[in-house]
Amino acid sequence: MVFRSSYLPSAPASTPLTWIGAAVPPGKADIEALFGGVLNGHFALRSGGIERRSLVCLDTADWRLRRAGLDLVYVERDGLLALSSPDSGRIEQTVGRLRWPAVINGIPAGPVRDALSGPVWVRALLPIAKGRLVGLRFSVLNEDAKTVARLVWWDGSLQAPGQAALPARVDIECLRGYQKDAGEVVRLLSAGAPLGATSGSWLDDMRGTAGVVPISSQRFEMQPDQPADLVVAEALLAYLFDLEANVAGVIGDVDTEYLHDLRIAVRRTRSIVKLLGDVLPEGLAERMAPEFRWLGQVTTPARDLDVYLLSVDELAASVSRPDELDPFAEHIRGQRALAYRNLVRALRSRRFSSLCQVWRAELESVVAAPAWHQLTASQLADERVRRIFRKVRKRASLIGADSPAEEVHALRKTCKEMRYLVELFKPLCAPKAYKQVIRDFKDLQDILGEFQDSEVQAAALRQFAQEMIDGGTVKAGTILAMGELCGRFDASQRNARDELTAHHDAYLGKQAVRHVKRLVRR
C-alpha cells in the first residue's frame, strides 16, 4: 500500500507479497540481508527510511464499501483519506482531523468524497478496525545506480478491536517506465524468499484478524428435515441479533439506516410470529406479539420524519418555489428531534430490555430442545407459503378501481408478510424459483408501496400544515408549496392504483402460481 500523495494515479500499482515463512526476520539488517541476497547479481539494494502509519479502516455498518470492492483507509497522522479498488486504482484526499462516525456531508469536498457518495449513500462511515504499520523502505537499483523499483517491508499490528500481529507484507512499487524490472524483482523475491502472492489488502488482513462482520440478516442455516420449531426459532434469533445490533446506532443517531434496519427486523419478527408462531411453545407468540407491536409503533414517528427529511431536497425541487419549503423542513427537523428523544427513551426502557431478554431466552430454549415434530422445516415452508399466497390472491382479486384504500393497504401488508416468509425459507427454496417469486413480489410491492406512501405522505403533510398554522409563524407561501406537494402525492396515488389493476395478472396470474408451486424443494 502506498500512501504518498505524489504518486501518479495511473502509475503502475504496487505488487504485494505476503511473508509465508516460519519466522519473520527480526530486524532491519536481517530484512536487508534477505533482499540483498535474493537480488544479488541482478540488482543492488539501497536502504531507505522508516515509515510509521496509524490506519483506520472505514466502512458503513453494512459494509457497503467492501461489497463494492472498495477499501477506505484514514491515515490519522496525515489526515488523509485513501480509497482504493482493484479496478480503478487509488485516489487520495487530505481531509484533516476527522471524527468517526461521519456521514458523507461531514467529509470536506474532494475526489474521495465524490467517489464515496454513491456507494456510501446516507450511511455513516465507521471505524471497522484500527491498525499500525511500520514500513522499511528500500530502493532497487540497476547498473547505473538508478532506482527501478522500491521495496517496502511492512510489519503490521491490529490495535482495535483487540490487539494482534498482522501477517508481514512486502510491497514492490513499480516505477513508470521500469515495469520489466519490477516484474523481475517480483519473480526473484517469489522464487528466492518465503514470500507468496496475496490477493487481499491490508484491510482484509485487519478485518480478518479482528474477526469483525457486517450487520446483515439471514445468518442462519436450514435443512429440509429439521424440526419446524428449531428453524423458526433460529431465524427469529437472527432477527433479534439484527434488531439489537442497530440499537446503539439509533440511540447515537449515527445515520438513519440504523432505525430503518431495526424496523425491518421488527417487521420480520412480527410477520413470522404471526404466520409461524403456532410452532413455538404454547402461548409464546400471543405473549410476545403485543410487545413487538409496541416496538413497531414507537419507532414509526421517527422513521416517517426521517423519510421526509431524506427527500426534502427532492420535494423542494418539485415545487415552483423551492425556498418556500424551508420553514417546512425546519418544522420537520424539530419534530424529528422530539420523535428521536421519545424513541431513545423507549429503547432505553426496562420494557425494551426485558422484551429482548425474555425473547432470547425463550428462543434459545426452543433451539436447545426442539419439540414440535408434526412437520419438517420443508413441509412447514411449503404449507405456509401456499397458504399465504392464496390469501394474497384472494385479497388482490377483490381490489378494483373503486376499492377503499384500506383494502389496498391490507393487500400490501399481506404481500410483505409473504415476502418475509419466503425470505426466511430461502435456504429451502429452489434458487431460480426463489428469484422469480421475489421479483414478482418486489414489483407488486413497489406499486403498493407507492400507493400507501403517497397517501401517508399527503395525510402527514396536512397534519404538519395544521401544526405549523397552530404554531402561528407559517407564511402563506409555505402552505401553498405544501399544497403543491399534496397534489403530487394524490396524483401519484391515483397512478399507482391504475398500475395495480392494470398489471394484476402479471404479478399474481398463472405464471406467479407456477413460480410459487416450484418454490420449496422437496
Binding site: S6, L8, S139, D144, G177
Partner: protein
C-alpha cells in the same frame, strides 16, 4: 515536488545532460519521428526519476533532427503544444529543457509554454541573446509566454559580472536578480548525478534555485489566475 506538483521534465537536448543527471538512459524507442508523428504516445516513453512526483521524458540522439520532423507536421510551430495536450490530466507542470539555440524546436517551446526561463551568464553576448529572444517573443502571434531571465554561473569576483548583475534587472523587468553562483556544488551535480538540492540543500546554489522556484511558482499562479 516540494509542493506535490506532478511534474514531467522533457529533455529535448540531444546531448541528454538532464537524462544523464537523473541516471536515465538517453534513448526513446522510435525517437523523435515517432513522437512527433504521434505514432507513439509521449507517456509510453516517460520514465520515473528517483524523486517521487518527477518523471522524465528522456533525450534521444534523433532529437538533433527534430526540426525536420516538426516541419513535416501541419502548423509545425505548434506541434509540441498539441503533443503535450493529452498529458494535462497526468501532470501539473511540464518543464521543457531545450538546447541553447533559436530553432523550430525553440519556437515550439515558446508556443507551448506559460513561462520561459532563460539562464544568463553575466556576459555581454548572453545579454544580447536575451534581448534577441525577448524581441522574438514580442512578435509572436496569439498566446505569448512570460520571459524570465536569471543569472547563472555567476562569479562575483569579476567586475563585469557584478556590473551586469546590478544593472540588467533595472534595465529589463523580465530579468530576475536571482543569481546562481559558479560553485563547485553545481559542477558536482554531474559527478553525483543528482540535483544540488538533494545532496547540498543548504548550499548557496541550492538556495538560489529554491528562490528561483518560488518566483516561477508565483509567475505561474499569476498566469493561471489571469487565464481564468
Amino acid at each position: 515536488m516540494r509542493e506535490n506538483r506532478r511534474t514531467l521534465l522533457w529533455d529535448l537536448d540531444p546531448q541528454g545532460a538532464a537524462s544523464y543527471l537523473f541516471r536515465i538512459r538517453p534513448r526513446v524507442k522510435g525517437g523523435s519521428p515517432k513522437l512527433v508523428q504521434q505514432s507513439r504516445p509521449l507517456l509510453d516513453a516517460v520514465k520515473a526519476t528517483d524523486f517521487e512526483g518527477l518523471d522524465l521524458l528522456p533525450a534521444d540522439f534523433t532529437y538533433r533532427h527534430m526540426d525536420i520532423d516538426l516541419n513535416e507536421r501541419p502548423r509545425p510551430e505548434r506541434t509540441l503544444r498539441r503533443l503535450l495536450q493529452p498529458l494535462e490530466d497526468e501532470y501539473d507542470l511540464v518543464v521543457l529543457d531545450t538546447p541553447p539555440s533559436m530553432s523550430l524546436v525553440s519556437e515550439n517551446v515558446l508556443n507551448a509554454s506559460d513561462v520561459v526561463l532563460v539562464p544568463l551568464i553575466p556576459t555581454v553576448l548572453s545579454v544580447r541573446t536575451f534581448e534577441q529572444l525577448s524581441g522574438f517573443v514580442a512578435e509572436l502571434d496569439g498566446r505569448v509566454p512570460v520571459i524570465r531571465g536569471f543569472f547563472s554561473m555567476v562569479d562575483r569576483r569579476r567586475r563585469l559580472h557584478r556590473e551586469i548583475l546590478a544593472n540588467l534587472p533595472l534595465q529589463h523587468a523580465q530579468v530576475s536578480s536571482i543569481a546562481v553562483p559558479a560553485a563547485s556544488n553545481v559542477e558536482q551535480m554531474a559527478v553525483r548525478r543528482a540535483p544540488v538540492t538533494a545532496f547540498a540543500p543548504r548550499s548557496p546554489a541550492a538556495l538560489a534555485y529554491l528562490e528561483l522556484w518560488a518566483e516561477i511558482s508565483d509567475l505561474l499562479a499569476t498566469r493561471s489566475s489571469a487565464a481564468e
